[in-house]
Structure formats: C-alpha cells, structure tokens
Subunit: 429 residues, 2 copies
C-alpha cells in the first residue's frame, strides 16, 4: 500500500509521524494532507537511512540543492563532497543531475552519503546513453527507482498539446529546461508523443511499486524575463494539473515544478495559478529569478523570487548558485547557494500559515541576543555561525559593541535613555 | 529661488533637464513632479561637479551606499577608497556616516572624490564633539550645508509625541537608529523637545539657503522582526508626513526614510502607508531586512525586502553589506552590497510604472546574448562583467555552451528541435 493510501485509511505511518514531530504539526492532520496530495513525503521503499522531509502546505518551505557531473567535469567524488556540503549547510533534499561519467556510480555514492531525500532526472541518463526512446526513458526511470531514488523529475507536461501553444507564440529563448528540450527533440525526431505522457499509467505503476514521488517537471519554464508567464507555460500548468489528478487517483505522490525567470510582480499570480490548476499540489520552484542581468549573483536573484513565491504558496525552493548560467557549481558555490536559498525559505516561513509562529521564534532568539549585545548568542542563532564569527573577528578588535557604531551604539544609548526616563518617573517602571 | 519653487514656476532648471535625459522622461513632467515634492533631486548650491540624480515616482529606483569612519577605524583615505568603489559599482548616492577621526576632513575628501550626491547625518558630529545641544546640532547641520553636502538625515520625527507611543508599547530592541537614540538621549537628558523638531522652521531656512534636501530620518525604525510595524513607527510616519508638508510649503525638497527589519508580508502595507501619510514623498528605505537570523548575509536579506518595497513604491534603497550587524564594512563589502542592492533596484524597476519598459530592455539585451550563446554579449550585459567572466573562465575550459550542460545544452537542443519541426512543415516557417 502506498503512503497516500495508507494515510487515507486513517493510519499514521512512521514517516508521517517523524515529519510531524520535526514540523511541530499534529500527525493526524499531516496524514490528511498527505492523503489529499497537498503534502508529499518522498521516500523510496528501497532507500536506506532516509531522514524524511515533508513538502507542502502547513509545513516549512524546503530547500533542494542540485548536484551532478557534466560531460566536462565528471568526478563522482567531487559530487559526493558537494552533496555532503549541501546537507551540512542545511539542504532538505538534493538532486543528482549528473550527465557525465558513470552515472550509476555517482547516484549510488550520493545515496549512500546523505540522509536527505534524493531526486534525479532519468531522461538525462537515457540521453547520455543515446537511448532517447520510450524504452530507454522507462529503463532509466526504473533503474533509478530500483536504486532507491526518492523523487524523479518527469517532464510529462511537455507534449504535443503544450508544444503547439509554443509554436503559436514563439519565445526569445525557446526551452531552457534540459529535460524539456530532450523531450521536444524526441517528439521532433520521431513524430511520436512524449512517452512519459503517452504511457503515464505505466509510469504510475512503477512509481507505485517503489513509492517513488513524481516531480512533474517544468519543461516549458521561461528562460528569461521576456518569455515569462506566456500561454505555453500556462498550458503546461494545465497538463500538470491533469497528471496530478491521475497520480493522486493511483495513490502516487506528486509535486509540480514551476518557473524559472519571472518578473517580481508576476510571481504571486503565477504561484496562485499553479496551485489552482494543480489542485494544491506541493509546488517546487526553480528560482524564480527576478532579473536576467546578474550572472554571478543568480543565487540571489533566485532567492529574491523565492521569498515572494514562498509568501504566495510555493513549498519547495531549488537553490541556485553563484555560477548559474556560467559554470558547473563547485563546492563553495553549493554552500553559498544553500545558505542563501535557506534564508529565502525562512523569510517566507515568517509569513506562512501554520509555520509562522515556529519560524519567528528563531528570529526572536537572535533579537534577544542582539538586544543584550550577547555575541555568543548571536553566533548561535545565526544561520551560518562560522560566517558571522569570521566577519566579526576579522580585524582582531574586541569590543562589546561592534565596529560599526563603536561608542555610539544605538542599542546601548537608547537603553540608557529609556532607563533615565524611568528613573525620573517611577510610575512608569 | 529653490529648485522646487523654480520648477513650480514652470521653468525647467538645468539639473531637472539632466536627470530627465538620463531617465528618458519628459523634462516638463519631471519638473512637475519636483514641484509637487514627489521627486527630489538633491544638489547643494555649493556642491561642485555634481552629477545629479532624481529620486521618486516615475524614476528608476536609486541606490545609496553608506560609508564613514567609526571610532575604532578612522582613516579618511580608506573611506574615500570605499566611496570611489561604490561609485564605480554603480551607486547613485553615498552617505558619509563618519563618527571617528577628523570628520570635516573625511567629508571634504569624499565630496571632492565622487560626483554622486552626498548625504550626511549631522547629529553624529554634534555627538562626537560632545555638543549634543540645540546649538551643537544646528552648528553641525550648517557646517555640512556650507561644505556642499546634498542631503542630510534629520531625525525630526523622534519627538516627545512619538516617544510617548514607544513608552506605551515597549519593544524588544528599543531604538537601533543612532540618530534616533541620540535624539532620545537628548530629550531624556534635558527634558527639552528635539531641536530639529522644535525649531524645524529654522532648519528649513538653512535648507533653503543651501538647497539642502532633507531626508527625514527613520529614528524609530524597528531593529528586529518582533518590533516591526508597531504603533511608535506609524506615529513617526505621521510626524514625518506633517514635516514633509511644511518642507514643501517652504520650497525645501524632502524625502522620508523607512524601516528597517520587516517581515516580507508587511512590507507592501508599510510602504503604501508611508506613501499615503507623507503625501507621496520619495521614500528611502534602509533594508527592509526580511529576517534577523542571517548576519553575514544581510546585504541579501535587505535586498530581498528591497525588491518587494520597490514594487510597492519605495524609491531609494540603502545598500546593506555582508558585515551589517557585525563590523564596519570594508571595501569589498561595500562593492558587494552595492551590486546586490542594485540588483534589487533593477528587479523592482522591471515592475515599476514609467520605468518598466526601459528597464526591460537591459534584460532583453542579456537574453538575446544568451539565446545566441554569445558570451561576450552576456558579459557586456552583466551587471558585474568581471564577476561573470571570472566564474565562466575559472576552470580554463573553453566551450561554446557552459560546463553546466555541456553537450546537453537545452538552448541548443530546443533550437534544433524547433528547426526540425519547421523543416517538416514549411507552412510554419
């Protein structure tokens, strides 16, 4: 019985119990959200040592970090190091997007190294093996499922219907999703429909067997501000909504991926539309990047969009790194991207129904330490204590205030003035 | 005659002409906005070599960068270097917040070094000179005006009325504005009203004489998420609104400063309230930082808030740096803070009435270069070309795609698939 079916039956499986404890939510309530498909808890039946994470409504916004070799840079060891670094920096999940070297080896090593849920994109393996066929795509999917992968991106919404909308309204940048463009290539080369769409029921059978969570891929995501929020993208949302419905009926957990590059004022509408069209499926966003002009800072442009998206209802943010659009991320990029995306997720949590109060207690801890000029307390409450300490101590000066204000510390001055007022007027004490 | 009066008379002074050209706005329209006090163009009559910048409605969001010595770190040369670095990184204005060393010297050196408008906070000088008296505060203000400073922060809204609201509803962190807390100290020590409020008409006389733009300071800005959007802060908005009205009547340009630390979902309301209460005065924001927990990344937490604030109507963003809350910024911090804040300003511009189309042409330039895999074009369009180049070339690999996708370049794959489709069906070509 799948997790959704079990949750529907009124039982509270162990993974739901564990996630409920971490999130501080009532387990029975969480089970209802899982049963309704509004929360997913990826966890392949074959995965060992998983620390499960919940993604969706009423839960904290989660952060995924992408890893993986490319054809130029294919060391498995380096990717394992990145996976560990991401996990230490607080990633809630990682995805292995490898396209170079021994893909099976990289995947197995990452699965063995980390406890967080692992996602993959099986079509990459089919493409790398020159098996971009229906058979090749399903072979790759099943292999990943057998290896214990917890969630897979399948670009099942890239099909003849949505591509026709793209043809009616061409874009500046076309497709920028690798999985989306491979699917488009398959359709163009063969004249056949996308196998993951055409044989979606078969895909659901595999997913059911392994408790594989589907991440319905955002193959038509816009690659630039100019292309954002177009009809092709909305068509794909509609397709994904239909597929979510079918997945739920089959007891298969499914989330939906969203764009991409989106101007800040279109994000809320876009997120709300995706939630409507997909029946409130957990929403996994790649960005959204709020401008195109900042290569080298795209972990930040994505995090800016991530805060706005998280406020509007996005549940899962994919970290972008400083090397986005430029180079394969190195370990330092992965760490930086993870922290910055976690900041976006937390800033959204401060506004998020069901999560807000718990999230605010963290900020309160920091503020109390700040008000007391308690530096150790501030470091402890910092999202990255090592970074904060390094900056504070880099000049080797020791003061109880900071070198920004020195003796003119506003916090201290104001406190003294307040106390003076109180002394003058004991009624106010 | 002041700039506002001149603009009201229907003439278009040279500084308005220059700003209109830079912004691509009709000069007569800009003159009307200046006359109405909805745009300010700071420019002291004594300032030499100024490249004027417009701040307010229908104009691009501007970025200020704070500089200045502190009592521990008081080198004038270092601050001049930072000012030049900020200016090269694209700052639209700088503020000298020095509190250590020879304040007059630092100010004069920065004024001579840069062409962007310079702002200061005269009360710091009064405090450092142990002259926190009415005389001392006005002496400092007049000295800065005589030196050619273009805009000054005066915390005239921190007065007995707004402080009473604070007493009725105490905060976790009290005041975190240095100018605000010094004013509070003055009131507590002397029992007198804030001189800048009490003698605001005298302040306006000085401002009028030198064409000194007032930046009505945000002395009661919240220092943490817990304290955001409280009654004391709204009381200060109301006070500042009254002062804006008096400044306009006197022909003195005035903008208003806003918080601070604000949860993401309170920013829009806060910005709109400030705009309402101040008659649409140009709004200058310090942050807003969307969480307290990320010291070391507060240039980013502030920029996240900056995008949302800019969308809601904020006109001027004060850059925060990675060392905020920890240490006086060094040159690298200033550069990083400037770029990240410029990204926020630009992301807001992409949504901003009157600015949107011009702003989008920049992103379009980048996207066209990306779609063509034209790397030189991408570097040219990048907000920080050096950063983008460094990441792209750091491994010494040369490919026409990037190492992220290598041969599986989505852009290229999709383009080929599109072309294949077109070849099959010539009607679509």
């Amino acid at each position: 019985m799948t997790l959704m079916k079990e949750a529907s039956s009124g039982r509270v499986p162990q993974s739901i119990e564990r996630v409920a404890r971490k999130e501080g939510i009532d387990p029975a309530k969480l089970a209802r959200l899982v049963a309704a498909g509004r929360v997913v808890i990826p966890g392949n039946v074959r995965r060992e040592g998983l620390d499960p994470a919940g993604i969706g409504e009423m839960l904290a916004v989660k952060v995924n970090v992408n890893l993986g070799t490319s054809q130029n840079l294919d060391s498995a060891e380096v990717e394992v190091e990145k996976a560990l670094a991401a996990s230490e920096a607080g990633a809630d999940a990682v995805m292995d997007l490898s396209t170079g070297g021994d893909l099976d080896l990289v995947r197995k090593k990452i699965l063995a190294a980390v406890k967080v849920p692992l996602g993959t994109v099986p079509i990459y393996q089919a493409a790398v093996k020159q098996e971009l066929t229906s058979q090749g795509m399903f072979d790759a999917l099943e292999r990943h499922a057998r290896d214990g992968v917890d969630f897979v991106t399948v670009h099942a919404g890239v099909n003849k219907i949505s591509l026709e909308r793209l043809r009616q309204d061409p874009r500046l940048m076309g497709l920028v999703s690798r999985g989306g463009s491979l699917t488009m290539k398959y359709i163009a080369d063969t004249g056949e429909e996308n196998p993951y769409y055409q044989e979606f029921d078969y895909l659901l059978e595999i997913a059911r067997e392994y408790e594989l969570t589907l991440s319905l891929g955002d193959g038509l995501r816009p690659g630039c501000i100019e292309d954002a929020s177009d009809r092709a993208k909305y068509m794909e949302f509609i397709m994904l909504g239909e597929l979510v419905k079918r997945a739920r009926a089959a007891g298969v957990q499914a989330m939906v991926e969203g764009p991409g590059h989106v101007p800040a004022d279109e994000i809320e509408t876009s997120v709300r539309a995706m939630k409507h069209l997909t029946g409130g499926a957990p929403l996994y966003l790649l960005g959204p990047l709020v401008t195109d002009v900042a290569p080298g800072y795209d972990h930040i442009t994505a995090a800016m969009g991530g805060v706005i998206a998280g406020m509007a209802g996005a549940d899962f943010l994919c970290a972008t790194t400083p090397s986005e659009h430029l180079d394969l991320p190195n370990r330092e990029d992965v760490i930086e991207g993870t922290y910055v995306t976690r900041i976006a997720a937390h800033a959204a949590d401060l506004t998020r129904p069901g999560v807000r109060e718990r999230a605010r207690s963290w900020d309160l801890q920091m503020s109390r330490a700040r008000a007391a000029l308690d530096w150790d307390g501030q470091f402890q409450a910092a999202i990255n204590p090592a970074r904060a300490k390094q900056i504070r101590h880099r000049r080797g000066l020791e003061t109880d205030t900071c070198t920004m204000c020195s003796e003119l510390c506003a916090i201290r001055l104001a406190k003294e003035a307040m106390e003076k007022e109180r002394d003058k007027d004991p009624k106010r004490a």
